[in-house]
């Protein structure tokens, strides 16, 4: 081998080796669960099964019969950019239970004000882009909780989404990859599962205000009776928020005879959002696929 190619080969090998080292540092190697790990799950509160957000999510018994409210519309997508709870400028209100909206620092209040006030209803959900964390947890469709050693998996029927909350003791990543639903790490405080989620992509489908890379969503899951679960959600962001933003508590009901149904949003989606951000409907080919 001549000298040039040999040097190139060496550089390539070093690059691959260093790359592997970096990956190894970022990933937690999970050991095979032992019988004791499976047995330990039985001591946790029983979250298993299918849960539904009831009236708070737009479905359930609260949906009134007839009239406008009895009509169409899957999955809640509480307003992405420019919509949802109006962000408040710093210093206004006390930030109690989310009623006053997130209390933004001056810099982020300016960012919020600079956003175009697009019609909050005209959002990318029409193109089957799901809501993100934490809004994805409040859809008028159920979700299933699964426990395995070191991991809580949430299967969300709306848009067929899956969340992984690692409970194996790993730390929150210092420099997380930006993910649509972030990266979630959980731990138990007594009978409460506390999930912390960081590293959100700049596609704020679950957050209604401008946020920094330091934002963290904290969800506290607990059973208040055998078939009722509450999720308390708080957002902290030392750059964007002057105080933790409490989004309040959501209540879920367990349906022991339900299973998660299919929801492939792209199956027959006649809705769309055009290049100008306006929503429309394709009426072609009635009775078949719209295109």
């Amino acid at each position: 081998m001549k000298r040039g190619p040999r040097i190139l080969f060496g550089i390539l090998a070093c690059t691959i080796f260093l790359g592997c080292l970096t990956l190894a540092q970022q990933r937690t190697v999970r050991s095979a669960p032992a019988a004791a790990d499976w047995a330990a799950l039985a001591k946790l509160p029983d979250f298993t099964g299918v849960w539904e957000a009831g009236g708070g999510g737009g479905g359930g018994g609260a949906a009134p019969r007839g009239g406008a409210a009895g009509a169409a519309a899957p999955a809640t997508a509480a307003a992405p950019r420019g919509g949802g709870a109006a962000p408040a400028a710093a210093g206004r209100g006390g930030g109690g239970r989310g009623a006053t909206g997130p209390q933004l620092t001056p810099a982020y209040a300016a960012k919020a004000a600079a956003r175009t006030s697009a019609n909050a209803e005209d959002n990318a959900s029409a193109n089957c882009v799901p809501p993100g964390v934490p809004q994805i947890m409040g859809q008028p469709y159920p979700m299933e909780f699964l426990f395995t050693p070191g991991l809580v998996t949430i299967v969300i029927e709306a848009y067929t989404q899956v969340r992984h909350i690692y409970t194996d003791g790993r730390k929150l990543p210092d420099d997380p990859e930006p993910n649509f639903h972030g990266t979630s790490i959980g731990h138990w405080e007594g009978n409460t599962l506390v999930a912390e989620t960081v590293g959100f992509a700049d596609t704020p489908r679950g957050i209604t205000f401008p946020f920094s890379e330091k934002m963290k969503v904290v969800e506290r899951f607990q059973l208040t009776d055998p078939d009722t679960m509450t999720i308390e959600t708080t957002i902290v962001d030392p750059e964007a928020l002057t105080a933790p933003y409490s989004m309040g508590s959501r209540s879920l009901r367990r349906h022991r005879n339900w299973t998660i149904a299919e929801y492939v949003c792209q199956e027959n989606n006649r809705n769309f959002l055009d290049n100008n951000g306006k929503a429309g409907i394709i009426l072609a080919n009635p009775g078949g696929a719209p295109r």
Binding site: G61, A71, A72, A77, E121, S125, E157, E262, N271, L283
Partner: protein, 136 residues
Amino acid sequence: MKELLRSKAGPAAIALCLIVGFVSVALAHHSFSPFNMTESKVLLNATVKKIEWTNPHTWFWFDVPDGKGGTELWGAEGMSPNYLDRRGWSRNRLKLGDKLELTIHPMKNGDKAGMWMTAKRPNGEVLVMGGTITDP
């Protein structure tokens, strides 16, 4: 419930529940902006012609008398199968040829379609997309 209706706060509470229910349903898979949500259009003698029992929405297509001796095709968007299955519906609840008095929020652009509000069969049965969960 009767007590709630009699009390002064009752009607206000019920109205609030309806509004909250509506808002939460209205924040939807997609925008409602294609529909005129303040207008109701009643389609008499609508005959079911085609059914799309699909996600993310069901679609029902009807032959509706055009007033000139013929018919025109109208579409109505409904909730998704998984939502409806838990609320007293199934894919067999409506059959081709069934006749309904159908009320929709019509499209703003004049297209012959709308969002399903409510429907009534000749025997009086009412078909809505929301309602109480029937499967415990």
